[in-house]
């Protein structure tokens, strides 16, 4: 099992919630857990004005500008502060891909769980995104690889397995992804992606 994050000391938590007992209580608990708390009035969420932070806790009951939350949710763990269970409010929580939530009124119990689930859930989400991106790249290169294998088969009169094996061996020798080796097989002048020592001078 991958070790999870259990300590949030020094993380900057941006609280988008109006002033009052909820904010005070939440700030006290977050500080006890070692976080640095930054407040921002949800009514004034001008894009440039938001401070840099590591995670966001936002009031799910208020109509905070969706574009602002969308932008934050793209890169940061999001925790919804929920006081109203009306579906229209909760729909926003889903849309902003919240990794966890805290129910209002806030108790000391529940905040640590929400932090732990949000930061670790966000980490897993980033990992999934990286995997999807890498699959996407490989998928895009699939056609090139097939074409390169076919070219080798006709050119050298070998079977598909041997042609693929050749291509793979070449990629390993050059230390490049198989898709790059395939592109070079199809167009030997294409040496753009090679590490510099292997790169041949381009034709004038």
């Amino acid at each position: 099992m991958t070790r999870i994050k259990t300590n949030f000391r020094g993380l900057r938590a941006l609280v988008l919630h109006g002033e009052g007992a909820t904010t005070d209580r939440l700030a006290g608990i977050l500080q006890r857990l070692g976080l640095i708390v930054l407040f921002h009035d949800p009514a004034e969420t001008e894009a440039a004005a938001l401070p840099e932070c590591d995670l966001v806790l936002f009031d799910a009951d208020e109509e905070i500008e969706a574009s602002v939350l969308d932008r934050l949710a793209a890169t940061l763990p999001m925790i919804a502060l929920i006081g109203n269970e009306a579906p229209s409010r909760l729909a926003r929580v889903v849309r902003f891909r919240c990794n966890s939530h805290i129910l209002k009124p806030i108790r000391s119990m529940g905040v640590y769980s929400a932090l732990l689930l949000a930061t670790n859930g966000h980490e897993q989400h980033l990992q999934t995104c990286r995997e999807i991106e890498s699959f996407r790249q490989r998928l895009a290169g699939r056609r090139t690889v097939t074409k390169a294998v076919l070219k080798q088969m006709t050119l050298c009169g070998i079977d598909e397995d041997t042609a693929y094996e050749e291509l793979r061996r070449r990629a390993m020798e050059l230390r490049v992804p198989i898709e790059t080796a395939a592109r070079m097989t199809l167009d030997p002048s294409d040496t753009e992606s090679l590490p510099s020592p292997c790169r041949r001078p381009r034709k004038a």
């Binding site: 300590n7 608990i29 006890r32 119990m109």
Partner: protein, 387 residues
Amino acid sequence: MSGDTVKVGIMFSLTGSYAAIGAAMRAGADLAIAELNARPDSNLRLESVFADPKGDAAAYADVARRLLTDRGLTHVIGCYTSSSRKEVLPVFEKHDALLWYPSHYEGFESSENVVYTGAAPNQHVLPLASYLLHNHGGRGWFVGSNYVWAWENNRILRETMLAEGGEVLGERYFPVGDTDLEDVVRQIVEDRPDFIFTTLIGESGYQFCRLLRAEAERMGIDQAARMPVASCSLSEAELPHLGAAADGHLSSSVYFSTIETAENARFSALWRERYAHLGNPCADAEATYIAVRLLAGAIERAGDTSFHAVREAVRGLKLDAPQGPVTVDADNLHCAMRPRIGRSRQDGTFDVVFAAQSVAAPDPYLVWSGAEAPDAQSTPHHLKVIR
């Protein structure tokens, strides 16, 4: 309030698998109440209202509710296990009442309705991990009762050990009260660990120590020296239950009956006068004694017995306790106390083999004492560590 009698709930299990500790904790509360009531210079009188949930975790919430509603109490000293504390927490929150929880525990809680007078994990688990690594080695076998006390302590110890290059040879859990431990004992002795960390509580723990000692002797191994049992809960109240296997076990605690302070000499003498039949005073009894004294101190400081007034008054309160100076942390309502490690003796006491240089501030979430602050968990997930 002057001249008033304040009723205080005392809630411990005197039957069930951890009855020995329950009896010692009740004695600690009774001792403090008797002592406070005998003070000529104070009008405050405490009257105990005792309730026994009989070791059944599910019964605790109901017993607590009756104390708070039927008896109208605001302050209850009680609970030994974490499962029982978790059961009663919502009841205390609902009724604006304060639970004075007098036992060491695994941390990761900080309720506004609880004053914690036992050790937090940075005051007993972490010091034990460091002591074991430096004095006995890094190969451990973990055995525990199947509930959160064991799971969480084992996690903390395991992560600390692994970070230092140690190794966990085995980890097994048993139902609370289970004494069918022959197989695991044989396995442990066969594996020859550097130490055995036990979080077995009550009867299971006593039986484990007896069986382990017997099996080691059969194999010609000096168990106490070669593979000591280490725990964060073994106390003076339990040593008499271990019979001939009482000596040579390590325990991490903020209190031992052998600590040399004037307060402890006084406390121990009073204890022996009244409760000699319970063995020597133990950490949980002392924590209960502290809880009652802090409650009285907070009521006197506040001039009021209400929940909010007493909770505010207890923040930062200091006490000269048998273990030494104890201060209630103003933020998390746990206590600053001095970590120690003892090695048990056949006479039912502990030799203190390690004492921290000073008191340790309570850190229930291991925010400041944990090895793994965010900046230390540095390897990004998409990079592999090549060894």
